[in-house]
């Protein structure tokens, strides 16, 4: 049967060629190398990194519970920041299992449900991973851990922790690690293999992407979505309302890093790199149509990252005292969003 189809395909290709005037023939591009690289070396690697870093977070919080001291507290805080990085760098591709399997709420719900968290800590309930798994997303995940290990004003000392908080933190990190494992395994080709939808886009039997183009559109729209969220949500809400409590990673003072990593997520997909792995990204498609636009996108990505990182002091401080720097960063992200939306998207949509 395959052979028959192959023969017919060849025949049809010949028909295709002979039926048309030569000047109208456009050889369809093969975007397989881009999709393979972005699926395998960017998306999967990011989730693998997240899975590994949350395991370290479990280890450091477990060590802190066993030996509460300043060194172990700082290790745990650093492990939180290190785990946060791949998560924020995954937010450029927030589609598929992360949503469909309800994992995002378990990993990154915001805000923390502080009244209920206090009530759970004051309850006699045994704090295990399974118990935390069953709680609402606003009582677990990154932000609950952040709230407990950093405190509300960055001055929490080891002596400020209760035994119940230590127990809660370890169980909560185990639960977070479990959710990141589900996420990594859902994409992993040797597990649930969601990645095949990207790798085999346009092939028969692909229930999501009828063409390679539609997979590229998905990837690009993911980038536009996160640029929009950083500029018009994450930066804009606390800035426009002059309200630091609307800042997502306020307790850890990690917001600038979060935002920059969100833009790096765009960069990773655009240029096809994550960590030490590299290959073709969306940039290859754009550069082949307009090298000027490709240069512009790359420059705007860097400008956005630089502007975010150049905001003086913490983001909490800056929204009140360095508003021009914050607005500058917001504008750079908006520029990038606009370029992706009004110049890059039309190219991908018309492939």
């Amino acid at each position: 049967m395959t052979n028959t189809i192959l023969k017919i395909s060849t025949l049809c290709t010949l028909l295709f060629l002979t039926a048309c005037d030569k000047s109208t023939i456009e050889q369809p591009e093969d975007y397989q190398p881009i999709l393979t690289n972005l699926g395998t070396n960017v998306i999967l690697k990011t989730y693998e990194d997240l899975f590994n870093q949350t395991e370290i977070l479990v280890q450091t919080l477990s060590a802190l519970e066993s030996n509460p001291n300043d060194v172990n507290l700082e290790s745990a805080r650093q492990a939180w920041r290190d785990a946060r990085r791949p998560w924020e760098q995954s937010e450029g591709f927030l589609f598929g299992p992360v949503d469909q399997q309800g994992l995002d709420p378990a990993i990154d719900s915001w805000p923390v449900n502080q009244p209920d968290l206090e009530a759970v800590l004051n309850s006699p309930n045994t704090l295990t991973k399974e118990y935390i798994d069953g709680l609402d997303g606003t009582l677990k995940g990154f932000h609950t851990i952040e709230y407990l290990i950093f405190g509300t004003n960055s001055s929490k000392l080891v002596s400020d922790f209760t035994t119940r908080q230590f127990e809660y933190l370890t169980a909560c990190a185990e639960s977070l690690h479990g959710a990141t494992q589900s996420l990594y395994y859902s994409w992993n080709p040797s597990q649930q293999n969601f990645i095949r939808n990207i790798l085999q886009a346009g092939q028969s039997g692909n229930s999501i992407y009828p063409s390679q183009k539609s997979a590229l559109e998905e990837l690009l729209i993911g980038l536009i979505t996160i640029a929009d969220e950083v500029a018009n949500g994450k930066i804009n809400d606390p800035l426009s309302q002059q309200n630091a409590s609307l800042e997502e990673s306020r307790f850890s003072a990690n917001s600038k890093q979060d935002f920059a990593d969100n833009i790096r997520s765009i960069q990773n997909v655009y240029i096809g790199e994550y960590g030490t792995t590299q290959g073709p990204g969306l940039s290859v498609v754009i550069a082949s149509k307009s090298s000027t636009l490709d240069t512009k996108v790359n420059a705007e990505i860097l400008a956005a990252i630089n502007a975010i990182e150049s905001i003086p002091g913490t983001f909490t401080h800056a929204i009140f005292n360095e508003t021009s720097s914050v607005i500058e960063a917001q504008n750079k992200v908006r520029n990038l969003q606009l370029t992706l939306e009004s110049e890059v998207l039309p190219i991908i949509s018309n492939l």
Partner: protein
């Protein structure tokens, strides 16, 4: 062998089509390709239901983006500084956690994680405006979660029963029926409770459905079946809380809500326990678990309007593969076996009082917005205003072919029992029984063609 022929056919068409680029004549396209009129957007990907309408102006686009935040906002227990007011009892903590990626909720994998499934409740009879009568101690909906220290009103469990349906050609399909039970009620479960399971629908195209002139919907109604086609079509008349009057029902599985704003306000109140200007009392008011707090309403008018506007201003994805011969054949069959008599293809929207992008749009939602008796097998036996226990509002079909792409599942119907479009068709009874029987008489090729048409929507 047939598939091979089809394959050749498609490739030949593709070869042919590719030569027409230089021709001056515009390509002939099917009239309903732009299902959502000017709001229609392109693309087949998981984010398809999250794109703003294509015809928003810059100001409306900014408003849509701001509104997206409200739709995603997660609520927590009062008196939290941010987003307080969740519960005390609730089903979900944000709009987005039922309407994941704005799509239809899957049937849950287990009773511990219900996602977008909930259970409506009432006792027999109707209230002063014709509404369902709440169950003492439980209200109109079973809230299956609670803030810490309160009890869920109960939990849901279910058993599935498979039943075999046979086509005329002998092929068999197994249908899954779901029998629900309420477990662990927080207080004694009263007698005579009527249950209606509901799955969260996709939220695209709702502004357009709201903009259809009522007279265009009422013109399709034929409550006494005067034309004798076996299909009645009845408008639900429901209570508009803001205007304090009866009005055509449009939203919800039984068209129990007149406007998108009221639908959203009811969802805030019943699903999340968030009081608002429309429904300023907690869903558990008068019950043992009421929090006694005086923080109502917990969201203001602007938040309610933002969540409403977000749904109003989403784009409807265009049809795909509309020019595929199999799809074109399926579309003809869809009309021929009278599916289109209830899944009414097109309307031209009326003037929308607020938003020009919804006005005078040529749309193809494939619904008549009316109630139909769908037979005993689909019945919930729970009346909702004028809708009887057998009646459901024809759900729109636009976007139905992207449900699996967006949500990663292919569960359909009000309780998510159908595991495929084919199963959903085979559940149709009552006024749709003739169409279902005609479908069962089709040969496999024609049955597949009809499903391919649905997948193109």
């Amino acid at each position: 062998m047939h598939t091979t022929k089809l394959y050749v056919g498609i490739l030949l068409m593709a070869a042919f089509a590719s030569c027409q680029k230089n021709d001056s004549a515009p390509p002939v396209i099917d009239e309903d390709v732009n299902l959502g009129g000017g709001t229609s957007i392109s693309g087949t990907f998981i984010n398809s239901f999250q794109q703003p309408a294509a015809n928003l102006n810059t100001q409306q686009l900014d408003l849509h983006r701001a509104a997206d935040v409200a739709f995603g906002d997660i609520f927590v227990t009062a008196p939290n500084e941010i987003n307080p007011g969740l519960g005390p009892v609730f089903n979900q903590n944000s709009c987005e956690n039922c309407h994941v990626a704005n799509g239809k909720s899957p049937f849950p994998a287990n009773s511990g994680e219900l996602r977008g499934l909930l259970m409506r409740l009432s006792v027999p009879g109707s209230g002063i405006h014709g509404e369902p009568v709440p169950v003492p101690g439980f209200g109109g909906q079973l809230q299956t979660r609670a803030v810490f220290g309160k009890s869920p009103e109960g939990t849901l469990s279910w058993q599935t029963v498979e039943q075999i349906v046979q086509y005329l050609d002998g092929e068999e399909v197994s249908l899954r029926k779901i029998n629900f039970s309420i477990d662990n009620p927080y207080e004694t479960w009263p007698a005579n409770v009527l249950l209606s399971p509901r799955i969260a629908p996709a939220v695209i195209g709702l502004g357009l459905l709201e903009a259809i002139d009522p007279s265009d919907i009422l013109a399709l109604a034929d409550e006494s079946d005067l034309n004798g086609d076996g299909i009645s079509g009845k408008a639900n008349m429901v209570w508009n809380v803001e205007q304090n009057q009866s009005q055509l029902g449009r939203f919800g599985w039984k068209a129990g809500q007149p406007t998108l704003k009221q639908q959203s306000a009811a969802a805030y109140n019943d699903d999340m326990g968030i009081t608002n200007p429309y429904f300023p009392k907690e869903s558990c008011t008068g019950q043992a678990q009421h929090d006694g707090q005086t923080d109502d309403p917990e969201i203001d008018e602007s938040t309610l309007l933002a969540a409403t506007f977000y749904a109003q201003s989403l784009g409807v994805p265009r049809r795909r593969n509309w020019d595929n011969p199999e799809v074109m054949m399926g579309k003809q069959l869809f009309s021929k076996i009278a599916c289109a008599d209830c899944h009414h293809p097109g309307f031209i929207t009326g003037p929308h009082p607020e938003f020009d992008f919804l006005s005078f749009q040529i749309i193809y939602p494939y619904t008549d917005m009316l109630l139909h008796d769908m037979g005993a097998d689909l019945a919930d036996n729970r009346p909702d205003f004028l809708a009887t226990g057998n009646e459901w509002r024809t759900p729109p079909l636009w976007g139905i072919g992207l449900v699996e792409t967006v949500g990663g599942h292919s569960n359909f119907l009000h309780d998510g029992r159908a595991r495929s479009l084919e199963e959903a068709i085979l559940w149709h009874g009552g006024e749709a029984e003739n169409s279902r029987e005609e479908f069962k008489k089709l040969n496999k090729q024609d049955r597949l063609a009809l499903i391919r048409f649905l997948e193109s929507l």
